[in-house]
């Protein structure tokens, strides 16, 4: 370790930055897609309509019983088969993350919806709002307000999980770091740097969550 050379980072910065952008984009889009699909699943489970509730519960339990890496593989091979044409590593990975995260988000959102007092639903019903109007205007806004910290926390976990996309040969930040590490022969420098970057981003995220929680209890 006598020749610890940090210039390798500087020299490859544009390449690493491209990788980080891919990781961040994938995280952001998967969080948005996961929350939308997860909300749908949560509403299905709570709808009281048996076939819908069972389908959603089955989906959530299936996805949660399978490793993420397997889901990423599935969609990489299955989506082109289903569509009849290749869609590329990024979109197949994005679909995999959305489908996977939706299962986790739906459980969070379900708990959030159930945390809204039953009286609020009664108040909506009593003014003649329909089931969907009550969800849309009364329940979900309150549920999401309660859930934001935990949704962000799940987003941080998702950001770390994006490092798995190397299996479909996407060049995320982790993969980019590995490539630099191997081609330049600077394993120690690059892996420490990669760890620092992940740590900084995730730690900043946690601090943000803590502030949100404080703001909520204040």
């Amino acid at each position: 370790m006598g020749d610890f050379d940090l210039s390798v980072i500087w020299n490859n910065l544009p390449f690493l930055w491209q990788g980080l952008q891919l990781s961040l984009w994938l995280t952001l889009l998967a969080v948005i897609g996961g929350i939308i699909l997860g909300t749908g699943l949560a509403l299905m489970r709570l709808s009281g309509i048996m076939p819908l509730a069972l389908a959603a519960a089955g989906y959530v339990n299936l996805i949660r019983s399978v490793p993420l890496i397997l889901v990423i593989f599935w969609f990489y091979f299955l989506v082109p088969l289903a569509l009849g044409r290749p869609i590329g590593g990024f979109y197949s990975a994005l679909i995999a993350f959305v489908m996977f995260e939706a299962a986790y988000y739906s459980e969070i959102i379900r708990a959030g919806i159930q945390s809204v007092r039953k009286g609020q639903v009664h108040a909506g019903q009593a003014t003649g709002l329909s089931y969907w109007q009550i969800q849309r205007y009364v329940v979900l806004p309150q549920a999401f307000r309660n859930m934001i910290p935990i949704l962000v926390t799940q987003g941080i976990i998702l950001f770390q999980d994006t490092s798995l996309v190397f299996v479909v040969s996407l060049r995320d930040f982790m993969t980019a770091s590995s490539i630099v590490a191997r081609t330049e022969g600077r394993l120690a420098e690059m892996y420490i740097f990669a760890a620092l970057v992940y740590f900084t981003i995730c730690f900043a995220g946690s601090l943000f969550v803590r502030r949100l929680q404080k703001a909520k209890t204040a």
């Binding site: 009664h122 108040a123 019903q125 009593a126 003014t127 003649g128 205007y137 309150q142």
Partner: protein, 242 residues
């Protein structure tokens, strides 16, 4: 206008309502009272179908609340309801609380809904607070907003479920005053309450419930002057003599 006919209701094996019958005529004020756990709140929630009943039927005007296929959503939009814990939407301002149902259910324009909201909120003396959120108001103010929210729908009748039970004593009168005014304006009202002063002042009839049954259903003076049942006598002596 509201006619409750022989309804019974169970939570699992536990029977909460047994063969309850009463009615509220147009323009009438009926107070429902009784010890806690007597089923009075459950009874009033059955009137607009928030709680289902297993036997008997409830008619509002000519619509059968308890029949399958009744458009409950439409029916509920015509009956106002006020809750013990206000149940204002905490993420909306007072104005938005009053406008939501008007715009989404009655499909009024924004201007129309706003005008109605402002007029109603002025009547309860809270116009300066119209942009505030429920959390910034006292309990008495919140309940007055909740009454206005129900009135914004131009209901044909109003249901009150213990509207003052969650209030600090000094705030009870500001809410009761609004209700008295409403009664004097001729609103059809069914009120679950322990406020016997209110009952005496504006109720046409008092329904006394105990253990899920309607024990007495009589004109107000008769009820207070000469309660028939021992249980009503007992209840009145407990609630009035201190």
């Amino acid at each position: 206008m509201i006619s409750i006919e022989n309804i019974s209701k169970w939570y699992g094996d536990f029977q909460v309502l047994t063969d309850c019958t009463t009615h509220v005529g147009k323009g009438e004020v009926v107070v429902v009272c009784g010890p806690s756990g007597s089923g009075k709140s459950t009874l009033i929630k059955c009137v607009n179908g928030l709680e289902p009943v297993q036997q008997g039927r409830i008619l509002v005007e000519d619509a059968d609340v308890t029949a399958k296929g009744t458009n409950l959503t439409r029916l509920r939009s015509r009956i106002g309801m006020v809750f013990q814990h206000f149940e204002l939407y905490p993420h909306m301002s007072v104005r938005e609380n009053l406008c939501l149902g008007q715009q989404k259910v009655l499909v009024r324009s924004r201007d129309e809904a706003n005008a109605k909201a402002e007029a109603l909120i002025s009547r309860v003396g809270l116009l300066p607070h119209i942009e505030k959120f429920p959390g910034q108001l006292s309990g008495g103010q919140q309940q007055r907003v909740a009454i206005s929210r129900a009135l914004a729908m131009d209901p044909i009748a109003m249901l009150f479920d213990e509207p003052t039970s969650a209030l600090d004593p000094e705030m009870i009168n500001e809410v009761l005053d609004v209700m008295v005014e409403l009664a004097q304006d001729g609103m059809t009202m069914m009120v679950v309450t322990h406020e016997m002063g209110f009952a005496r002042k504006v109720a046409d009839r008092v329904v006394f419930m105990d253990a899920g049954r309607v024990v007495e259903d009589r004109a107000t003076e008769e009820f207070f002057g000469n309660p028939e049942s021992e249980r009503a006598q007992d209840f009145l002596s407990k609630i009035l003599n201190h």
